[in-house]
Amino acid sequence: MSATAMIVDDESPMRDQLRARLQQVWPDLSIIAEAANGIVAIEQAEELRPDIIFLDIRMPGKNGIEAASILAKQALVVFVTAYDEYAIQAFERGAMDYLLKPVEADRLAGTCQRLQERLQQRQQEKTAPAATNTASDQAKQVEQMLTQLMQQQSQKREYLRWIQASVGTSLRMVSTKEVLFFRSDEKYTLVQTEQAEYLIRKSLKELEDELDPKEFWRIHRSTLVRVSAIAEVTRDFRGRQLIGLKGHAEKLEVSRNHTHLFQQM
């Protein structure tokens, strides 16, 4: 049976390998295109309409899973991956086929067999549309699985994780995991880490809105503290709460309207 195929992989030796193997096990298959990333793959598939697309998962531009959500609508997609535990788990549950690199001839022959059957089924459907709808069921299953995978990838809420601070002429990136506290200081905001302090223009209010509220607490009109940096809470002789930090000598005052954060711990 003759059919057309496209190979998508960012590493050219891998494309060569798959091409050679395919020629061995399915001589009638004509490989009409190769692409090195997801974006090019989508453009070429649109233009050349291959029946089958062999798709690597880790790729620049658009990765294989993102690209597949578009490509699976117009062609049969087979994932090719060296190691991707999540994807493999997902595919094992689903109906779609996947191949492991380096691709073995026997395994590839099985895949090609299934592909041929499915293509035949498609052609029969075209001639007798009412006969069966298993193929469209499969397509639906695949689509569901892909949306699931994409959700898994973009589940985390986006909080600010890096603080940008100018030091001389360079722009320093400070991870929020390093920050002990932020304190507003007239025009600027002071960023204190264990080893250094920086001044940034972002206001405390903006920071409070963008940071993870579970990670940073407002303890004073002018102070945001990283919860995991707190070592102890004490009281001074006037009954004010003071926060002691890990790896930093200075104590931070808790203002009266924030004392409820540390009530009788």
Binding site: M14, R58, W162, M173, K177, G239
Partner: protein, 294 residues
């Protein structure tokens, strides 16, 4: 006018109340932990002085109240104080354990399976098409594994030169896979080669650079590694011209591990410095004190 006076009085009363409360709690805490014998001794002295000053029944009453309070609430309070101390100790222990775990994770999670499998797949392909090149990649892989596998790390591994050799092997493999999409250069002055440097740290930075540099960019990218002496410190920088920073992306286990390990190894005297150059990409540097004894 009258208003302001009111405020002053109010403030004064509030301050006094505050102070009394604090003094009271201090007294309460002291009462809770002081041994009975000392309490009796102090009471006796207080009553004698009170008697001498002619305070009459005040002192005996105070002593009586103290004894009642101590016997009623003292046990509970001293237990609370002991619990706080125990919690502080537990915190310190938890921290130490976390550091140790971070150390272990840093040692164990180094060889990325994705990298290993892809490289082996490449060698398989090259054996068929270009056996000479297969031998070269195979040798790079052996060199890399010799330094990267925890079981294989020998004493000499903690030298800057060896760490750079390992990165070179890794980058050569990545170059064989990504071809023209990856270029790199390493600048290591020969006098720095034998300076001690913690294992696997530059490697982690290089892996990060490839992940954010040449790998996601369709046009590929360049990575440069430089080592230099700055005053009494050794600075190793890994620079890529990649995608730069996503301000909302977690900085990842790799960098967190480096930070924790530096803290343990150099007790605060080493630094991980991350910069976003105007030209794009990222510069990640590790600054460690130079050990002159070596």
């Amino acid at each position: 006018m009258k208003h302001r006076d009111d405020n002053k009085v109010l403030n004064f009363i509030m301050d006094v109340t505050d102070t009394v409360t604090v003094v009271w709690w201090k007294f309460f805490d002291w009462l809770a932990v002081v041994p009975w014998s000392s309490l009796l001794g102090i009471s006796l002295v207080a009553m004698i002085i009170g008697g001498a000053l002619g305070l009459g029944g005040l002192m005996p009453m105070l002593v009586f109240a103290s004894i009642i309070i101590k016997s009623l609430a003292g046990g509970k309070r001293s237990a609370e104080i002991a619990a706080t101390a125990a919690a502080t100790r537990a915190d310190v222990e938890a921290l130490e354990r976390r550091l140790l775990e971070a150390e272990m994770a840093a040692l164990q999670a180094q060889i990325e399976p994705h990298f290993l499998f892809n490289t082996l797949a490449l060698i398989g392909q090259l054996i068929e098409t270009n056996p000479a090149q297969a031998t070269v990649v195979h040798q790079h892989l052996i060199k890399y594994l010799r330094s990267a596998m925890p079981q294989m790390r020998d004493k000499g591994n903690g030298k800057l030169g060896q760490q750079m050799d390992m990165c070179r092997a890794y980058l050569n493999i990545m170059q064989a896979r990504m071809q023209e999409r990856l270029t790199y250069d390493i600048d290591l002055p020969s006098e720095l080669e034998f300076l001690p440097f913690p294992s696997m740290m530059i490697q982690t930075l290089v892996e990060n650079s490839i992940k954010h540099g040449p790998e996601p960019k369709t046009t590929g990218g360049h990575i440069s590694i430089t080592a230099k002496k700055v005053d009494d410190q050794l600075l190793v920088e890994v620079n890529d011209n990649g995608m730069g920073f996503d301000l909302h992306a977690d900085d990842g286990m790799g960098l967190t591990n480096i930070r924790e390990r530096l803290k343990v190894l150099y007790s605060g005297k080493a630094q991980l410095v991350i910069e976003a150059p105007q030209t794009g990409g990222a510069i990640v540097g590790i600054l460690v004190p130079v050990d002159t004894k070596q």
